[in-house]
């Protein structure tokens, strides 16, 4: 656990893109080192306050420590080293993955309801509603979550705005091109679930643009909100 003494350094390192695992261990080591110096000085008869003050000098100022750590490229997080991977490619790949998982979940719910619970097209119970929720997740919520998460993490880590914006735009575009439908009626007693990623020409105009714009807007709003919050925290902590 980070004590107040090194809390500022910890935040500063994380914002500068140092990998969280290095930050955690560095802070733990600095805390232990500080305690060792204090114990050493106390054993020579110095007071607690004087020992702590001397220990802080021996360890180095926060500026010196931060500069030395940040200057090491080996300690940077992978998101800082490959922002295109962290904030564009991975969120983009997470989108079809979430879509496929939501479709598989819908198939699972349908199969369970028909084979185990014995529901039919005439007595479907809550199946159409549950499948509808899963479809909504795959088509609407998954792109928003992918873009929002990329923007949230990018702003929190102080990453340049370019990559989350590019990532959000691509996610918004791909997300808007996903579609899914479910039909289960006496005419289709075995049910039909379809889903895919592609352009459906009568809908390309307004509907698709609206979905893309909505996802992009949520992503960018998340980025701006988080960045503003981080900046506010920094200003509040600066002397």
């Amino acid at each position: 656990m980070t004590t107040q003494r090194f809390a500022g350094l910890s935040r500063r390192l994380l914002r500068a893109g140092v990998a969280p695992r290095h930050v955690k261990r560095l802070i733990a080591e600095l805390e232990a080192h500080f305690a060792d110096i204090v114990a050493e000085l106390r054993s020579t008869g110095r007071s607690q306050a004087e020992s702590e003050s001397q220990a802080a000098i021996r360890l180095g100022t926060e500026d010196v420590l931060a500069a030395n750590i940040i200057a090491r490229p080996e300690l940077q997080s992978w998101a800082r080293q490959w922002p295109w991977l962290a904030f564009v490619l991975l969120p983009l790949l997470a989108l079809p993955l979430q879509f496929v998982l939501s479709m598989l979940a819908a198939i699972g719910v349908f199969n369970f309801s028909t084979r185990v619970l014995g529901l039919t097209a005439l007595h479907p119970g809550a199946v159409p509603w549950v499948v509808g929720v899963l479809q909504t997740y795959g088509v609407w919520i998954a792109p928003i979550l992918a873009a929002g998460a990329a923007c949230f993490l990018a702003a929190r880590r102080g990453a340049p705005a370019l990559w989350p914006i590019v990532g959000s735009a691509l996610i918004a575009l791909v997300g808007a091109s996903t579609n899914a439908s479910f039909e289960w009626s006496p005419a289709v007693p075995r049910g039909a679930l379809s889903g895919g990623i592609g352009f459906h020409f009568p809908d390309v105009g307004t509907a698709m643009s609206f979905r893309a714009a909505f996802t992009l807007l949520i992503g960018l709003a998340t980025f701006l909100w988080m960045r503003r919050r981080v900046n506010g925290e920094n200003q509040a902590r600066s002397p």
Binding site: A28, E29, L30, L59, G60, E74
Partner: protein, 84 residues
């Protein structure tokens, strides 16, 4: 050795000729570990968790190279100073 012991050893072996913020040891240790020159092991001693560092065979080879380089440079500087 863990960080505090290392800082203490540096101070003693250099007779305090090298004075550095002891905290700057840690980024160097982490970087050497990332390059495979050091191995870090977490151990709990007397209720306190410490990270002990040990040199790896690769680190030993690199140390040998750097020591050789240093001796060549130091020898050259000594030779130049002896002539003046």
């Amino acid at each position: 050795m863990y960080g505090y012991e290392l800082a203490h050893a540096i101070r003693e072996s250099t007779r305090e000729a090298i004075s550095l913020g002891e905290g700057v040891l840690y980024p160097a240790l982490h970087a050497l570990e990332r390059r495979g020159f050091l191995r870090a092991r977490r151990r709990t001693v007397s209720g306190r968790t410490r990270v002990y560092y040990a040199i790896t065979p690769r680190g030993n080879r690199r140390l040998g190279e750097l020591s050789g380089e240093w001796h060549r440079i130091a020898g050259a500087v000594r030779a130049v100073l002896a002539e003046t």
